[in-house]
C-alpha cells in the first residue's frame, strides 16, 4: 500500500512536480488518485516507488524536494485505466503535469474497500464520504442524500425525522460548522431530516470531522462537515429529471468551453405536502426546496469555482400544533486555486457571502426571527521554512447578527450586532519514516473585545507495520467559537435558534477534544475501525428552566462532557455491500442550579440533555443482482432523555385572587429535568432500484421503497403544550423515477 514520504526534512533540491489528474470523459478532477514516481532499474524498467501521494479535492498532488533524475510517472485509481509516462525531473524547476485518466468499465465491478476514497475512516475523527456511499442508503428520492447518510454514522444523533438538526458527538447543531467549497452554510439540512442541500449527484467528496479537526478549521467547537461539490461536465451536456412522492428535481450541466469552463444547475422542490395524505395518510405540513448553481473554470495554471446555493424550509414539526418554523440559506462564493510554476506552492483564495435567516410564528401570530450574515475572505498557502513545509492561512469574517424576539427568549431583547473576526492558522506534517506521521497546528481567532484565542491542534498516525493495513491514530486540540446558538431545548417541537455573537462580555464557547482510533484491514474486502473520544465543552448557552412549562425562559451557561466509542465494520465485495456501525456515548451537562433555575436541592445540577443517546446501531446492506440493486438500512437506538410532567394546576394568586371568583392560571409542572427516557427507536428502510438504458443517450432509473417498512410508531417527543405524543414518520411507501440524458 502506498505511503506518502518526504525524502528529507531539509530542502536540498527545491524541485516541485505538480500533477493535475482529470477524468478523460468528463474533464473533471479525479480525487484520491494514487500518484507515484517510480525509478528505473538496470533493465530500464520501472522499479520501486520513490515518491507518492494521493490527489486532493482539486485532483492535484504536489511532489516536493524530489531528487533530479528520470522517473516513471504512474497514476492509478479504481475504475480508471492506469496512466504511465516517463518524466525527467531537473534541478531547480517546477513542473505542472496534466494527466487524463480514462474510465475502465471492467474495474468498476471490483470495488474494494481498500481504495483510497473508500477509506471511510482511518484518521481519528474523520469520515471520508464519496457520492457512491450515499447511494447505499434507501432515500425516498432518486439517489442518496448526505442527511440520510450522516444519520447512519455512530455519534450522529438526529432530533427526529423533522427539524433538520444533527448533533455530532455531544455537540449541538450550532457547534458544528458546515462548509461548501469553503463557503459557510448555517443549516443546510431540510425540515424533513431525510434530506439536505446535498444530493448524491452534486457531491464530489465530503469530509466529516466528528472532532479533533486541524487548525485550518476555526470557529466550531464540535464538528466540521466539509462538502466539496463536483464541477459540471466539461466535455458533454448531461441532465436528469426525477419525481418521487417527496420531491421533484432537475439537474443540468455541460461545457461552456470544452475542457475549460462548465456550468451546472441542480434544483429540488418538495411535493410531500400534496402526496403525504395519499401515501401515508398523514398531513405533510412541510415545504422545502434547494437550488445550486456552479460555474467552474479550469485554466492552464489555476482553477476557479463559483458556487451559488439557496435553501428554503417551512413547516411544522408537530402538524397538530400551530407553530410554524422557517429557515433560509443564501450563499455565493468563489474559490480559486493557483498552481502556476511561479508559485512555490499552490495558493488558494476564497471569498464569499452567506446569509441565514430563521423564524417562528405561533398561534397568536407572534413572529420571531433571527439570522446571521457573513462576508468573508481567506487565503491558504504553504511555505518551506528550514526545509519544513508549513501550511498557513489567514482569513477575515465579518458577521452581522440580528434578531427580533418576543416571549420565548425574554432575557434577550431584539438586537443587531456586528462582529469582525480575524483568523490565522499554521500547521505542518512531519513524517520521519513509514511508521509515523505527526501533524501539528495552531489556530487563532481574534475579535476586538477579546484577546486572540490560542488553539493548538495535534494529529498523529502510527502504522505498526509501515503500511496502511493497520493504523493507530490520535487527535487532540482546543477549540473556540465566537458565536452561540440559543434554542429552547425543553421544547423539541421547535428548532428556532437565536444567533448571538460573543462581543467580549463573556468567555467564548470552548472545547477540548481527544480521540484515539484503531483501524484494521482484513483481506481486500473487510475493514474494522474502533474509535474512542472525549469532548469537554465550556460556556455553552442553554435555556434556563422553570418548574412550570411556560414559554418564558432566560439563558444560563453550562459545561458539558461527551465521551464514548464507535465500532464500524465494513465489507464490500461485488455484488454485496454491508456495513455495521455501533456507537456508545454519554453526554452530560452541568450548571449551577441557581443560574439554571432548576428546582432541585443540589448546588450544581447535572443532567443528560435531550440528545444524549446512549446506544446507536446501524446496519446497512445492498446487493446487486440481475440489474437490480436492493438496499436496506436498519437503525436501532436507545431512547433520549425527556422531562416528565407531574401536575396540572390552576394556580391562584392568594389572597388577591379568590377561589370563587377566579379560575386561576393554568400551569403544567415538570418533574426532575431530563430524568426519564423515551422508548427505544428502530426503523427499517428498504428499496429496490433498476436502471434501463432506453437509448445510448437516454436512461431511466426506477426505484421503489418503503421508509419505516414495519410501521414502527417511533416517538418524536411529547408536546407539553398540547399534551400529545408526537410520533415520527409512519410507513411511507414511494416510487421514484429518474430520466437521464447525455
Amino acid at each position: 500500500m502506498l505511503v506518502i514520504s518526504f525524502n528529507s526534512a531539509f530542502a536540498q533540491q527545491d524541485v516541485t512536480l505538480r500533477v493535475l489528474v482529470n477524468s478523460k470523459e468528463k474533464g473533471t478532477p479525479v480525487v484520491g488518485a494514487q500518484v507515484m514516481l517510480l525509478n528505473y532499474n538496470a533493465e530500464g524498467k520501472a522499479g520501486k516507488i520513490q515518491y507518492g501521494g494521493v490527489t486532493n479535492n482539486d485532483g492535484l498532488y504536489e511532489f516536493s524536494n524530489v531528487d533530479p533524475g528520470h522517473y516513471q510517472l504512474k497514476v492509478t485509481f479504481i475504475g480508471y485505466k492506469t496512466f504511465t509516462e516517463p518524466i525527467t525531473i531537473q534541478k531547480g524547476r517546477r513542473i505542472i503535469e496534466k494527466v487524463k485518466l480514462a474510465t475502465d468499465v471492467a474495474q468498476l465491478n471490483e470495488i474494494v474497500v481498500q481504495s483510497e476514497r473508500k477509506v471511510t475512516t482511518g484518521e481519528a475523527g474523520i469520515t471520508k464520504i464519496n457520492s457512491g456511499d450515499l447511494g447505499h442508503i434507501p432515500t425516498p428520492g432518486t439517489g442518496g442524500d448526505l442527511a440520510s447518510y450522516l444519520q447512519t454514522l455512530p455519534g450522529v444523533v438526529s432530533s427526529g425525522d423533522r427539524g433538520g438538526s444533527l448533533h455530532i458527538r455531544g455537540g449541538t447543531p450550532t457547534q458544528n460548522k458546515v462548509l461548501v467549497d469553503n463557503l459557510p452554510i448555517i443549516k443546510p439540512f431540510h425540515i424533513s431530516s431525510l434530506f439536505s442541500a446535498f444530493p448524491e449527484k452534486s457531491i464530489k467528496t465530503v469530509d466529516l470531522y466528528a472532532g479533533g479537526f486541524g487548525s485550518k478549521y476555526l470557529g466550531a467547537t464540535s464538528a466540521v462537515i466539509d462538502v466539496n461539490l463536483r464541477p459540471g461536465n466539461m466535455r458533454e451536456f448531461e441532465g436528469s429529471a426525477a419525481v418521487s412522492p417527496y420531491m421533484v428535481s432537475v439537474q443540468m450541466e455541460g461545457p461552456v468551453e470544452e475542457d475549460h469552463q462548465s456550468l451546472m444547475f441542480m434544483g429540488r422542490k418538495s411535493v410531500i405536502n400534496q402526496t403525504a395524505p395519499i401515501f401515508s395518510g398523514e398531513q405533510g405540513a412541510i415545504n422545502f426546496y434547494d437550488a445550486t448553481v456552479r460555474y467552474s473554470y479550469q485554466g492552464n495554471n489555476y482553477t476557479c469555482n463559483v458556487t451559488g446555493i439557496q435553501t428554503f424550509d417551512r413547516g411544522q414539526i408537530n402538524p397538530n400544533r400551530e407553530l410554524g418554523l422557517s429557515w433560509r440559506n443564501t450563499a455565493i462564493g468563489a474559490r480559486c486555486l493557483g498552481y502556476d510554476e511561479i508559485y512555490k506552492h499552490p495558493v488558494e483564495l476564497t471569498i464569499g457571502y452567506s446569509n441565514y435567516q430563521n423564524g417562528e410564528s405561533t398561534q397568536d401570530k407572534t413572529e420571531r426571527s433571527s439570522g446571521r450574515t457573513q462576508v468573508f475572505a481567506k487565503v491558504n498557502h504553504k511555505q518551506d521554512i528550514w526545509g519544513i513545509p508549513i501550511n498557513y492561512g489567514f482569513g477575515f469574517n465579518y458577521s452581522v447578527y440580528s434578531a427580533v424576539l418576543a416571549e420565548r427568549f425574554t432575557d434577550l431583547k431584539s438586537f443587531h450586532d456586528e462582529n469582525p473576526i480575524f483568523k490565522l492558522h499554521i500547521s505542518s506534517v512531519w513524517e520521519p519514516n513509514d511508521y509515523l506521521s505527526i501533524q501539528t497546528g495552531l489556530g487563532s481567532q481574534s475579535i476586538i473585545q477579546l484577546a486572540p484565542t490560542i488553539e493548538p491542534r495535534l494529529r498523529i498516525a502510527i502504522r505498526p507495520d509501515g503500511t496502511n493495513k493497520q493504523k493507530i491514530s490520535i487527535a487532540a486540540g482546543r477549540y473556540y467559537q465566537m458565536m452561540s446558538g440559543l434554542t429552547d431545548q425543553r421544547d423539541a417541537g421547535t428548532v428556532f435558534t437565536v444567533f448571538k455573537p460573543n462581543l467580549g462580555k463573556a468567555n467564548p464557547q470552548e472545547a477540548l477534544h481527544g480521540i484515539l482510533g484503531y483501524q484494521q484491514y482484513i483481506g481486500n474486502y473487510f475493514k474494522a475501525n474502533v474509535e474512542g473520544y472525549i469532548k469537554d465543552y465550556k460556556n455553552i448557552s442553554v435555556s434556563k428552566w422553570t418548574p412550570v412549562a411556560t414559554l418564558n425562559t432566560k439563558t444560563a451557561l453550562a459545561d458539558g462532557l461527551a465521551y464514548g466509542f464507535d465500532v464500524r465494520l465494513e465489507y464490500q465485495k461485488n455484488p454485496m455491500y454491508f456495513y455495521l456501525g455501533y456507537g456508545w456515548s454519554k453526554v452530560k451537562y452541568e450548571a449551577s442550579t441557581d443560574d439554571l433555575g432548576a428546582w432541585i436541592d443540589e448546588p450544581v445540577f447535572s443532567y443528560y440533555p435531550a440528545y444524549d443517546q446512549r446506544h446507536k446501531l446501524n446496519a446497512v446492506a445492498s446487493y446487486r443482482f440481475a440489474g437490480f440493486t436492493a438496499s436496506a438500512n436498519w437503525e436501532l437506538s436507545s431512547g433520549k432523555p425527556y422531562t416528565r410532567i407531574f401536575g396540572f394546576d390552576l394556580s391562584l394568586n392568594v389572597p388577591w385572587e379568590q377561589p370563587l371568583n377566579n379560575s386561576g392560571t393554568a400551569k403544567i409542572f415538570y418533574s426532575r429535568p431530563y430524568n426519564e427516557r423515551l422508548p427505544m427507536y428502530h426503523r427499517l428502510d428498504i428499496s429496490l432500484e433498476r436502471s434501463f438504458q432506453l437509448s445510448p443517450q437516454l436512461s431511466l432509473n426506477a426505484k421503489v421503497g418503503i421508509i419505516n417498512a414495519y410501521n414502527r410508531e417511533n416517538i418524536f417527543y411529547f408536546d407539553v403544550s398540547s399534551l400529545q405524543r408526537v410520533n415520527q414518520m409512519p410507513r411511507m411507501p414511494y416510487v421514484s423515477i429518474q430520466t437521464q440524458f447525455n
Partner: protein, 281 residues
Amino acid sequence: MNFRKPPIFVLLSALLITVFLAVSCDNTLHPFNKDKGLYSVYGYLDIDSDVNYIRIKDLNMPFVEDSTRKIDAKVRLTNERNEVSQTLTDSVVEFEGLYTHNFRTTLDINPDTKYQLTVKRSDGKVATATATTPRIADTNVDPLNADCRTPITVRFKPVLKKADLYVRIGFEYRNKKYWVNPFLQTRKDEPELIYMRFTPQDIIAKIFSDDRGRPTIACYQLSSKIFYVDYIHYGPDFNQGSSSDTLDIPGGAGKFGGLYNRRFHFPIDTTNLCRICKSIN
C-alpha cells in the same frame, strides 16, 4: 496483529436476534408522573370570616372538562389546638368549561392557631397542608390630627417580620380614594414591632408630584380629613408556599395560610399651611 475474518453469518445472526428483541420492546410512553403530585391547595383562613373557601385541584387531571367535573378528594380541616375538625363540602364553580372545586369551611378560625388541612384520595393517599394564623396585632397612630407636614408613626405589634404585613395608606381626593404602600421599618430593641413613619404630604406626593418629587396638591385640597390604613396580617408560614411535604414543590403548587384583613383610619389637620398660596395647582 492478525485477525481472522469474522464469519458474516455470525454477524447477520446477531443482527437478526437484535432486530427481534428490538421489535418486541415496549413502545408506550408514560409522560405523567402520577406518583409525585396529588393535589394543589389554594386559599386562606381568615380570622374575621365566618366562611372560608379553599380551592383543591387534582394535579393528575388535565385541563379537560370531563376530567375536572368531579374530584376524588375528601377534605378535612382540624384545629390543632383544640382538635376540633370539620369535613369540608365542595362548591363547584365552572369557568369556561373548566370545573373548579372550592371546599367550604365554617370552622372557627382563631388567632395564633395552627390548622391542618388533609386531602385524602380514595386509594388512601393523603396530601396535607398547614396554616398558622397570626396573633392579632395592636395598632397605634401617633399623633392624631397631625398637620400635613408633621410626621406620623403607625405601629403594629406583635408582628413577627415585615413580610407578614401588607399595608397601604389611603386618602381621598376629589371623592376618589388613592392608595400608597409605605415603607415598613423595624427596631432591634423591639423585635415584634413593625412601624411606618411618614407625613401626610409624603403620602400625597407618592401619587401627585412634579418632576422633582414635590407634591402638587396640599392636604387642604383633600376631599376628606381622614387617612385610611388597610392591612393584611399574614400568619408566619403564609409566604413560604405550601407547607405540605407530600406536594414537595419548592415555591408551591399551592398556597395556604392564615390571615386577617382589617382597616382603620385616623384624622389629620387639613388646615392650609401656606397662607399666601391659594392653590398649588
